[in-house]
Symmetry: C2
Subunit: 370 residues, 2 copies
C-alpha cells in the first residue's frame, strides 16, 4: 500500500534560482523501526530557514499557488554549492499520528499514537520517522507537541554542556526567544545563574515577568555597564549566541574581560587569565562575526549544534533530557505561535516576508492538513 500526500521541497540551482514547491508525493511503507506519521503540526524554526529562505530575494520573487522562485545572491549562492540541483525536503520537527509501522516492537507499540518526531521533512502531510526518536504525546495535541525537540533539547543542551564544563552561570544573547524563555526556566530549576541580553524594553519586562534575575538591554546607552555588572554578580564567563553576525559575541567577551581585568592587581599586556567561552548556535544575522582584539588571548569561540552535542553526551543523558521535556511540555517547554499556515499558505509572499524575519514571539506553525 502506498500513501500519497503533499510535501514541500526546496531546490537551489547553480544559476541562483531557489524554488520552494509543494508537490504530491508517494510515501513508502515503513520497515523495521520506522513509523509513518500523518503530520499534523510543524514549527518553522530558524534552522529550517537556512534551506527554506536563506538570503534569497523574496521581495522580487515569482509567486504562484504552492510555488515560489526567488534569486539567491552571492556569496550565499556559492556558499551552498554542495546543494546545487538537489531537491531537498524541509522541516526538522513536528507532530502527528502514527498510521503505519515497521515490524520492530518499538515501532509497533506506537501504532495509532500521537507522537512528536524529527523526520527532516516535517513540512509534509506524511513523514517516515525513526521510532527511537519519537516522543509519545499522550493526551497532548500535535500543536502542543510540535516543537518538543529542537528548542527544548537545545536549551537543555546548553545547561548540560555548561555543567559538563564545570560552569555555574551562562550568558544568553537574543534571550527573549521561545528558546530563551525555556532556558530561563531550566536555569531556575537547576540553580544556574543566567544573564539574558535582549534588544527591547518590552522584552526586559517580559523576561523579568517570568522570573529572570539578570536582564540587560543592548539598546540602552549604558548597555556595557549593565552587562559588566550582571557578569560580575553572576560570575558568567560562558555563553550562547544565536545571532552569529556582527559584534554580539564581541561585546560579551569585552564585558567579561573588563570584569576580570578590574579584579587584577597587576597590568598584563596579555589580558586576564580568566577563561572566556562563547558558542554561536544560530545565524539570525548572516553578516560576518567580528572579533576585536580587546580581550587578550584567554577566549574560545565555537559553533554549537544540537546533533553532535547529543552524540557526545551519550544515550543516558539524551534519554534523561527527553523525559524531562515530555514531563514538562505545557510548562517549561511550552511553545506559542503567531500564525498557522498550511503548505500552500506557507509559500505566499505575505507569510514568507513575515516568518523569515524570525521576530521574537512570532513563530509560525505549519498545519499540513489545515
Amino acid at each position: 500500500m502506498t500513501t500519497t500526500g503533499q510535501q514541500l521541497f526546496t531546490t537551489l540551482t547553480a544559476d541562483g534560482k531557489l524554488t520552494l514547491e509543494v508537490s504530491e508525493e508517494s510515501f513508502p511503507e515503513p520497515t523495521g523501526n520506522q513509523v509513518l506519521v500523518k503530520m499534523e503540526a510543524a514549527p518553522i524554526n530558524p534552522s529550517d530557514l537556512a534551506i527554506l529562505t536563506s538570503a534569497a530575494d523574496f521581495d522580487n520573487a515569482e509567486y504562484s499557488p504552492g510555488k515560489v522562485v526567488a534569486q539567491m545572491p552571492e556569496p550565499f549562492l556559492s556558499g551552498q554549492k554542495s546543494r546545487h540541483g538537489q531537491r531537498l525536503p524541509a522541516g526538522n520537527e513536528g507532530a502527528g499520528t502514527v498510521v503505519a509501522t515497521g515490524d520492530n516492537d518499538m515501532a509497533k507499540a506506537l501504532m495509532g499514537q500521537r507522537v512528536a518526531c524529527v523526520p527532516g521533512n516535517a513540512f509534509s502531510q506524511y513523514a517516515i520517522a525513526d521510532a527511537m526518536m519519537c516522543l509519545p504525546l499522550g493526551d497532548h495535541s500535535s500543536e502542543v507537541g510540535a516543537s518538543s525537540f529542537v528548542n527544548p533539547m537545545t536549551a537543555l543542551g546548553f545547561v548540560e554542556n555548561a555543567k559538563m564544563d564545570g560552569q555555574k552561570a551562562i550568558v544568553h544573547t537574543a534571550a527573549a526567544s521561545n528558546l530563551g524563555q525555556m532556558l530561563i526556566k531550566i536555569c531556575q530549576e537547576d540553580g544556574i545563574e543566567l544573564v539574558n541580553i535582549v534588544r527591547k524594553t518590552e522584552h526586559v519586562e517580559m523576561l523579568r515577568g517570568i522570573g529572570a534575575k539578570y536582564v540587560v538591554n543592548s539598546s540602552d546607552d549604558d548597555f556595557m555597564e549593565q552587562l559588566r555588572t550582571a557578569i560580575d554578580e553572576s560570575d558568567a564567563f560562558y555563553g550562547f549566541d544565536p545571532i552569529g553576525g556582527g559584534q554580539a559575541v564581541d561585546n560579551v567577551f569585552k564585558a567579561m574581560e573588563q570584569v576580570a581585568v578590574s579584579k587584577m592587581t597587576e597590568y598584563s599586556r596579555y589580558g586576564s587569565n580568566q577563561a572566556k567561552r562563547m558558542f554561536i548556535y544560530g545565524r539570525l544575522d548572516f553578516g560576518p562575526t567580528i572579533l576585536t582584539p580587546s580581550y587578550g588571548f584567554g577566549w574560545t569561540l565555537s559553533g554549537w549544534l544540537l546533533t553532535p552535542f547529543l552524540a557526545n553526551a551519550g544515550m543516558e543523558t539524551v534519554v534523561k533530557m527527553r523525559t524531562r521535556v515530555q514531563q514538562n511540555l505545557t510548562t517549561t517547554f511550552a511553545s506559542s505561535y503567531k500564525a498557522k499556515v498550511n503548505l500552500e499558505e506557507m509559500l505566499t509572499k505575505e507569510a514568507i516576508s513575515d516568518y523569515r524575519q524570525m521576530k521574537t514571539g512570532e513563530k509560525y506553525l505549519v498545519t499540513p492538513w489545515g
Copy 2:
C-alpha cells in the same frame, strides 16, 4: 651593594601620550632563588611590541636621545586603560651573565654562568631573574641564547598541544617567520605534517629550501585551491595563526570545510561534521578578526598564549621542552637578526619605524652594553 644601570620603560597616560624612555635605575640584591643577570642581548619580539609601540603614531612623535613620546589613537588608548599611568619595564627574554645570586643552591650554582632568562625587563643592563627559569648556555654566546625561550617554546608548544589533542597535522599562517622555520624543523623531527601559508614567492622558496613539504602562497590567484589541496593531502584541520586581524583564519576554516564537504555523500545545511580548530597566538594585524558564516558550526577558535599553556602542560613536559631547546640551540632553534641596537639606538625614529613592522627575517637584537 646596589647595582645601577640603564633600563627602558614604557608609560601610557590617559591623555594618550606613550613615552618610551631609558633611565638610570638601581637593581636590588637577589634573594632566595633569584639571580642578578648582566643582560647582554635581548630580541625585540612581536609580543614586546604590544607594550612598546602598539598602534601609536611614531611618524609624528617627539624624539630626543634615549626618549620618544608618541600619541596613541583610539580605540587602542581606551583598550589599554588598565595600564594608564603605569611605568612598565619591557623585554620578555634575553641572555647575559649571572653576577649575583640569592642564597638558594639552585641560584648559587648559576654564579658566573651565561644564561638565557625571562625577566620581563630584558631591555635593561641588569635584570633580576628566577633561577628556575634560567637556561645555562654553556659555551654559547648571549646572542645565540637571547631568543631561547619565546619562539622555541611557542613552536614546541604548538606541537605538544597538537599531540595532546590527538592531531597529526598542523596549519601555520605567516609561516616564514623565525618561529615558523623552527616549527618546520620540529614537525619534521616529530613526524607531524605541516601546511605552511606564506605571502611571498621568495618565502615559498625559502621554506622549501629547509625541507617544508606543503607551502602555499596567499598572494597567488589560486591560493584557496593550493590550500585545499594541501589540507586534503595532509589531513590538517588544526592550526595556529599569528596574524589575528582580517580573514587569515577565515580562509583556513573555509578551505578545511570545503575539503570536508567534498567528501560528504549527502548535503547538510549545517555543514560537515569535521571538527576544525584554530588558535590565534599573535596580532601582526591589529584589525578585527572576520569570521564569515561559510563553514557550518563545527569549528572552534581560541586565543593561544605560551604561559597558560606551560602551566597546563605541567612541569615534566616543560622540562622536556627546555632540554630539547638547550640541546638544539644552534640548529632547530637558531635565530637570526637584521640589526643590533643599544637601548638609546632602540628609541630612534629609524629603528622604531623598521622593527615595528615585524617583517619576516628582520628581527632586531638589543645589546644594552653595545
